[in-house]
């Protein structure tokens, strides 16, 4: 084997090692989010499914690197308000956890999910349009933001889950359009 081939193999391995390490760090981040969700919300079997999906998505996007990794991390940040705010809203109106959410979500919780998701969606859309690879960034951010938000809003029931997804998509598109118009003006 030529020396340059050996060097290429080592260089590739170094590149992949860095990316795999980023994937492992992302798994750690997903674990942290799960702990936060367990502390804040009532955990169902659906929550565990969402948590597993979030871990797999985050690890894959972080391993892929570039705009996908940037978008994934931005999405986690964007997903934090929908994860946290519903429990704050519920705690302000009722004492303790959202105990009645299994049978029917309360309107304040659902509105909090929709509102915060729409707001962060606007920010994500705006930020995505400024990235070098806006589509990759936007898709990764929306995916991880939705899954992070679902860790919280998913426990509110189907209404909360729909709220977080619809809010993020609508907000993201609005933010993208607004950023595009601002750039053209």
């Amino acid at each position: 084997m030529e020396r340059s081939d050996l060097a290429l193999r080592r260089a590739r391995r170094a590149y992949e090692t860095t990316h795999v390490a980023a994937g492992v760090r992302a798994l750690g981040l997903a674990a942290g989010l799960c702990v936060l969700a367990i502390g804040l919300h009532r955990i169902t079997s659906m929550s565990w499914l969402v948590a597993a999906l979030l871990a797999a998505t985050l690890a894959t996007l972080a391993w892929r690197g570039g705009a996908y990794r940037r978008g994934a991390l931005a999405g986690v940040l964007a997903g934090l308000p929908p994860l946290v705010v519903p429990s704050i809203v519920f705690a302000m109106s009722h004492p303790g956890h959202c105990t009645g959410c299994a049978t029917g979500a309360s309107w304040p919780c659902m509105l909090a999910c929709l509102g915060t998701s729409a707001l962060v969606g606007v920010v994500v859309g705006h930020r995505a349009s400024a990235d070098r690879m806006p589509r990759a960034f936007g898709l990764s951010a929306i995916a991880t933001a939705a899954l992070t938000g679902l860790l919280g809003c998913g426990t509110v029931g189907l209404g909360g889950a729909l709220g977080v997804v619809a809010g993020l998509v609508a907000g993201g598109v609005a933010g993208w359009v607004v950023a595009g118009r601002t750039a053209r003006a």
Binding site: S4, A11, R12, A14, A22, G65, G66, A67, R69
Partner: protein, 182 residues
């Protein structure tokens, strides 16, 4: 030789996670990096080790690549650091007597007098350009070239990096005003 715009593109693509850009990027960089290391160290086998280590480090840090910077310059900076490190290691192990002896011992026969004179002139010009900079810039540049840990420890890594960037920028401007661009 691959043009620099293409090299910048491959480097940026690889930094964005595009694995298909890795092989062409490596094949474009390998001869340049190996040539630089050979000229620096004067020993082909040692230079191959150095080039390999430099590219391994570079590929391991590709996601930190700043697209505003020139890819070739970044690669050669890595190579230069690696050459210095290798030289220091050999010095510590007692394989060479003084800094620069590796090159003098192995390369003396192959480098003719004219090339040596040109190189001396280049070094003299570089030192004169360096001397024209403010003392703080000289301090930072010297610390970066000599691994002066004292100054590095006294500053936050980001501050040191910013100061170094500013100092290099002023050095580049000063060199361009005296000798034009390369």
């Amino acid at each position: 030789m691959t043009d620099r715009v293409q090299l910048d593109r491959w480097m940026a693509d690889a930094a964005e996670g595009d694995r298909t850009a890795l092989t062409p990027l490596f094949h474009a960089l390998w001869p340049v990096v190996l040539g630089y290391a050979t000229r620096f160290l004067g020993d082909r086998a040692l230079a191959e080790d150095c080039a390999q280590d430099a590219l391994v480090r570079l590929f391991g840090q590709l996601d930190r690549y700043d697209r505003e910077r020139d890819a070739l310059t970044w690669a050669l900076t890595h190579t230069h650091w690696q050459c210095l490190t290798l030289r220091k290691k050999r010095l510590r192990r007692g394989e060479v007597g003084e800094l620069g002896e590796v090159r003098d011992a192995t390369d003396a026969r192959s480098v003719d007098g004219r090339a040596l004179a040109e190189e001396r002139e280049l070094v003299r010009d570089a030192l004169a350009t360096l001397a024209s900079l403010p003392p703080r810039d000289i301090e930072v540049l010297t610390a970066s070239l000599t691994d002066d840990d004292e100054l590095r420890r006294s500053l936050a890594p980001a501050t040191f990096r910013k100061r170094l960037e500013r100092a290099l920028g002023r050095l580049r401007t000063s060199w361009s005003s005296r000798h034009g661009t390369l």
